[in-house]
Symmetry: none
């Protein structure tokens, strides 16, 4: 089933209000395996509504329309829809009586413009509104359904699942197809590299749709299977996932709703390990991400943002001759930071970052984007050197992610040096 | 001028990603008094893009198209636009050379699929991308402009004002009206409170458009003036700004592109003051925001994320009897943290946070959202108690903002207790 979504309102076109209804409705339809053919927004103008409906129906079995059902003069959706399909308006006496009852029960004075909300195009099926005064309606036209509801988000969230979707199910013959999706999350390989690596995986021949969603600094790969049974879809997805894993295991850190900090937090908690962090260039972003996970106080003992050299010396005992010989941005400094923060906090693990986030502070030897990340466990200290591009904020984000990824690899028993 | 906006991407139609570009672009166009005729979203499908362009151009002088310009196989926008207007593709050698240079400068391996990003429909004007690899392009068709740029929000935010709008100005005859906008940024008052406070300011009578943009945890108020001369517009904006300041000065922290951390950083640097931060519930988010400002190492000496009680005792010398008598989330603890981090770091100022971010850890006395923030300058220590609602991440965000706001008010000589 292909469904188009049309949201109506001057406030949407001026950008004053961001349209949240369309995206929300799209998610409900996608979850049913119905395809959203187009999302459209137009002003409260008769010709704009007519043209949008005509275009939307040219590529859809049904249109869901929101907005413009209020009692005021700028609410013209009902009249515009009636006119677009050559229908007159009638007054639904049951709806009118209900409206008058609401007014009287709230002690409001009835004015005749409110009767507008009881007027519908001939042949409508009324869609009740359980949380507001404006009822919706649906009409059939050439085998298509046009369902119209108010644009108030709280009303949309009730009327779509309770009114519109059951109505579409009843009115439209549909092929029942089973859809299953799997999101694979990667870090450390550019989008083009991911694409290149899976080019020979034969995913298309498996009937798998592949979507790429860059989500800086991660890349998300969404595999979707549409089959005649759920079992068939699951089998295809499993096979596709295996083929992707065979090619990209080294860059994959999680699936679906997982985050690196969530995986790290769960693993530290499960194993009763504790962590202390000493950050320089990432400025607290690693502990910020870790403390987004509920219960992070179970494993995170402390974080130090040792931004000045003095703080590295005082809080971590970094010897001045290490600073002099190698500089604050160096492998020896990173190693010392990780070891010292672990030792002083008495935790199982110590993680550190030091680098040049820019825009100034770079040198030919250590240009902006030079980052050292170290991880100490009391037996061994691992250190990686990265050279990132991007500007200051994104360097911080990617360096924090690289630090969390190093921790994740360590906890999984993978090669920390990736 | 009527402009349509077409955003392309499967993720938009599935509802997986809410389209933020269309609304943002619409706001830019509305601020210029250009009318947005339609907002459209379709999948990465050749026929869908063709039909959407045809429909969009039927009611618009120009179409701004975003998305689908990446190097991977599912990025088909360029090819689809070329085909829709019967044009072949050519390779822009300058763009190709630039792409290869970027790859080599970052030590990335060049793969041929990247050449796709240098291919444009015949007759294109290339729109440079100052912050990414995918350039945009514009073509003319029957007196209409079709401008195509990538869908990455950070790139849209640069390429629309710097590339697309100047190009539309050049290519389309238009009525010139002078438009001036001023964004006033507030923290600490809900949208309805802001609305209420300015209700009697007579902004409408001044010919000023007022837009509300909640930007959690801030509220942004955008004043727009449209006049026949730039001078007239500037005069109106100044008067409107004064009226808003008279009513809301206490909540206003900045204007236009300013951020609290930027203002705080500039003021600390100008006065040669230094800062140390001890965070508990905010988990490093305050130092993360401060270190987003280039040159923050000039004033930020260190940050401590003292998450465990042990770390509060060891790193800040917090007496165990303070912990026992008042708890980690208390005014005495917050005061001690601010004073101790300042004293131990030898900085001018010390800032601290402690609180219950949730979802667990709350009690009837100190429910989730209880936060204490303290600021010490060696002479006096200020402490505020907040009770926020929201969930864990938003409690962290609003608490960090409240801490930065306290610092800002202190530096401006305003009452820290707001």
């Amino acid at each position: 089933v292909k469904v188009g979504i049309l949201t109506i309102g001057n406030e949407l076109l001026s950008g004053r209000v961001q349209d949240a209804n369309a995206s929300w409705i799209a998610r409900q339809l996608s979850a049913l395996d119905w395809q959203v053919s187009v999302i459209l927004s137009v002003e409260d103008q008769e010709y704009a509504i007519r043209d949008a409906l005509q275009y939307g129906l040219s590529c859809s079995d049904a249109m869901i329309v929101t907005g413009g059902l209020g009692p005021t003069a700028d609410d013209i959706t009902t009249a515009a829809v009636a006119k677009a399909f050559g229908r007159s308006l009638y007054t639904d006496e049951a709806v009118l009586a209900y409206l008058k009852e609401i007014f009287s029960s709230y002690g409001l004075t009835w004015t005749d413009n409110n009767a507008k909300q009881a007027a519908f195009p001939e042949g409508s099926e009324v869609i009740p509104n359980p949380v507001g005064t404006a009822a919706g309606f649906a009409i059939m036209h050439d085998g298509h359904v046009i369902a119209v509801i108010p644009g108030v988000p709280a009303e949309v969230k009730r009327m779509v699942p309770e009114g519109v979707i059951p109505l579409l199910r009843k009115r439209l013959p549909q092929t029942v197809q089973h859809v299953m999706s799997r999101t694979i999350k990667l870090f450390g390989l550019a989008e083009a590299g991911v694409d290149h690596a899976i080019a020979d995986a034969g995913l298309k021949d498996l009937g798998i749709d592949v979507g790429f969603y860059p989500n800086f600094p991660e890349n998300h790969l969404v595999l979707t299977s549409r089959e005649n049974s759920m079992e068939a879809a699951a089998t295809r997805i499993r096979e596709a996932e295996k083929r992707v894993m065979d090619r990209l295991a080294n860059y994959i850190f999680g699936f679906d709703q997982e985050t690196i900090e969530g995986i790290v937090a769960a693993e530290l908690t499960r194993r009763g390990l504790t962590l202390a962090v000493a950050e320089s260039c990432t400025g607290g972003l690693i502990t910020d991400r870790l403390t987004d996970v509920p219960g992070s106080s179970l494993f995170l003992d402390r974080g130090l943002v040792t931004y000045s050299n003095a703080s590295k010396i005082e809080l971590l005992g970094l010897p001045e001759d290490v600073l002099k010989a190698h500089g604050a941005v160096s492998e020896p400094t990173a190693r010392w930071m990780a070891e010292a923060v672990r030792h002083r906090a008495g935790t199982s693990l110590g993680l550190s970052t030091t680098g040049v986030a820019g825009p100034s502070g770079g040198s030919p030897e250590k240009p902006v984007g030079t980052i050292f990340i170290a991880l100490a466990d009391g037996h061994q200290t691992y250190c990686r050197h990265f050279q990132f591009r991007w500007e200051r904020r994104r360097i911080k984000i990617i360096a924090a992610e690289a630090g969390l990824m190093m921790l994740k690899r360590y906890l999984s028993g993978d090669n920390v040096h990736g």
